[in-house]
């Protein structure tokens, strides 16, 4: 809430969480552009005759009149749907991945913390998820996760080695989620430094190497994946990215890379939606 308290205000947001409250009420968490996460109660929303019930379902872009509560729980009224994302509700695969997108954005959001760019990213991604052809959904996920990291100020370093600060030459390298960028291969390091002995800390041949308990396993970063990620960070426009002809293996490698970084930054394991996606049988 803004420093000046208001009794009533209008809010726009996407419903990212919902749970039942009492006899017929529902608590919804709205992801808003200017107020961050906003917890609201929709009174009587579970009754069949409720005027708000249909609007406050998950993954709906809504606008509402909000009565400010004394605590951080406000009350919704006069709810209207801006976009119901009906395309998501008719396809389990699209619904699962859309839930993952919402969960990722929610994890990087806080109450009272405005982030209009992050909101715009989720709104646009949900729209794209409705219409994008299913084989391209993994690429959409890679675009979303890369753009999400950039939007929250965690853009991966894809041009310089995060350990030596040398420019990354073309080739296959490694990616360190904990250090937030690429690690140069030792043979490339020799060329870059013009020295005979590679820096021993600059290369971990075994991603499972846990000699240092603080070290998060590094992830392989093939050349084409690096190129793809660089292109996405340069061109954050999905309409141009979706027409790229990319190998599925490069997208898969990119998702391992962004997924590892998201998990490290959020200090959490596999997401809620990812778990459901695994059981649904949608590999994305």
């Amino acid at each position: 809430m803004s420093p000046t308290r208001r009794r009533y205000f209008n809010a726009e947001g996407i419903v990212v969480r919902a749970r039942d409250l009492g006899e017929a009420d529902r608590i919804v968490i709205l992801f808003t552009p200017n107020l961050g996460l906003l917890s609201c109660v929709a009174r009587g929303a579970r009754r069949t005759t409720s005027r708000t019930g249909g609007h406050v379902d998950l993954l709906r872009h809504i606008t509402a009149h909000v009565s400010e509560g004394r605590s951080d729980l406000h009350t919704l009224s006069q709810v209207e749907t801006i976009n119901a994302y009906l395309g998501l509700r008719r396809d389990l695969d699209r619904l699962s991945i859309a839930s993952h997108f919402a969960e990722m954005c929610e994890r990087f959001s806080l109450p009272n913390a405005a982030n209009p760019n992050l909101f715009a990213l989720l709104r646009d991604t949900l729209t794209h998820t409705e219409t994008t052809a299913k084989p391209i959904l993994p690429l959409l996920r890679l675009w979303h996760e890369t753009t999400l990291l950039t939007t929250v100020g965690l853009q991966p370093q894809l041009h310089r080695c995060v350990r030596t600060n040398n420019e990354i030459p073309p080739g296959d390298h490694w990616f360190s989620p904990s250090e937030g960028g690429l690690i140069m291969r030792p043979d490339q390091l020799q060329t870059a430094n013009n020295t005979a002995t590679p820096d021993p800390i600059a290369y971990q041949p075994n991603p499972e190497d846990q000699t240092n308990p603080q070290t998060v396993p590094i992830v392989p970063a093939p050349l084409n994946t690096i190129k793809l990620l660089r292109h996405i960070t340069r061109t954050p426009d999905w309409t141009r990215i979706q027409n790229l002809r990319v190998d599925d293996r490069d997208v898969e490698a990119g998702l391992k890379l962004t997924g590892a970084m998201l998990r490290y930054q959020q200090e959490r394991g596999v997401g809620r939606a990812e778990r459901v996606m695994g059981e649904v049988g949608f590999e994305c």
Binding site: V16, R17, A18, R19, L21, G22, E23, T48, T49, R51, G54, H55, D57, L58, L59, R60, T81, A84, L86, R89, R90, D91, L92, L95, S96, S99, H100, A102, E103, G271, R272, A273, R275, V276, M277, G278, E279, V280
Partner: protein, 228 residues
């Protein structure tokens, strides 16, 4: 047969008076207040009102309430066929020879069975999932009684002596989680050659169209019927 467990499970610690219990309240009353506060929809004020009502209640009534609460935990089981709450190994609906055994109505909660039974319009069998798939809450198919439903259908198709199931009616809620569950069931059951249907969706009786949301209106149009 599994004993009935409330969902979701919540950690239960011995009921002890909270430090924020009202001052001057006797320890046994504070303990009851804290116990009531754990119930869904009960806030601190309601918990206090209920606790003091118990204090004023005749001892026989209090004993009856206590016995009822203990009994519900000790005697209740899940029906080994449909997973509804029952006292016996199999519930009275599953054992009723007059029920139509060609249809199974899949619902989220035991209370939904009660709602359908009130209508007297459905004479088939049920299957209770005890929840719904929820990508946003991380509830997956393996957390529900979906595996038991698929096994039931498989056993039914192998059993030639009985009337086989020809239709599964998915009666999950019409919210996002209910839709996700319905789509999952459709995907899992259809390959077995069993018809999967969904309850009709549309405008509820007595509602104003101007307040209907897009999804409800769209479903109403899709499910429109000829007048007369």
């Amino acid at each position: 047969m599994a004993a009935f467990r409330p969902d979701p499970p919540r950690p239960v610690s011995p009921v002890a008076p909270r430090t924020d219990a009202p001052r001057g309240v006797a320890a046994p009353v504070a303990r009851v207040i804290e116990a009531f506060r754990r119930l869904p929809g009960i806030g601190p004020k309601s918990a206090q009102r209920l606790a003091y009502h118990l204090v004023r209640m005749p001892e026989a009534e209090a004993a009856e309430l206590s016995e009822a609460i203990t009994g519900v935990k000790q005697r209740i089981k899940l029906c080994e066929t449909c997973a509804d709450i029952t006292e016996a190994i199999t519930c009275h609906i599953c054992t009723d020879p007059n029920r139509d055994r060609s249809t199974i109505c899949v619902v989220e909660e035991p209370l939904d069975v009660t709602a359908f039974e009130r209508t007297r319009a459905y004479t088939g069998l049920y299957h209770v999932l005890h929840g719904a798939i929820s990508p946003t809450s991380g509830i997956a198919a393996s957390d529900l009684k979906i595996k038991e439903l698929l096994q039931r259908l498989q056993d039914d198709s192998a059993d030639t002596s009985d009337q086989t199931v020809t239709e599964v009616i998915v009666a999950t809620n019409t919210n996002l989680d209910g839709e996700a569950t319905a789509m999952y069931l459709q995907r899992a059951i259809t390959p077995a050659g069993i018809k999967v249907t969904r309850l009709a969706r549309g405008l509820p009786s007595g509602t104003d169209i101007e307040y209907a949301d897009d999804a409800t209106l769209a479903h109403s149009l899709e499910s429109r019927a000829e007048i007369g």
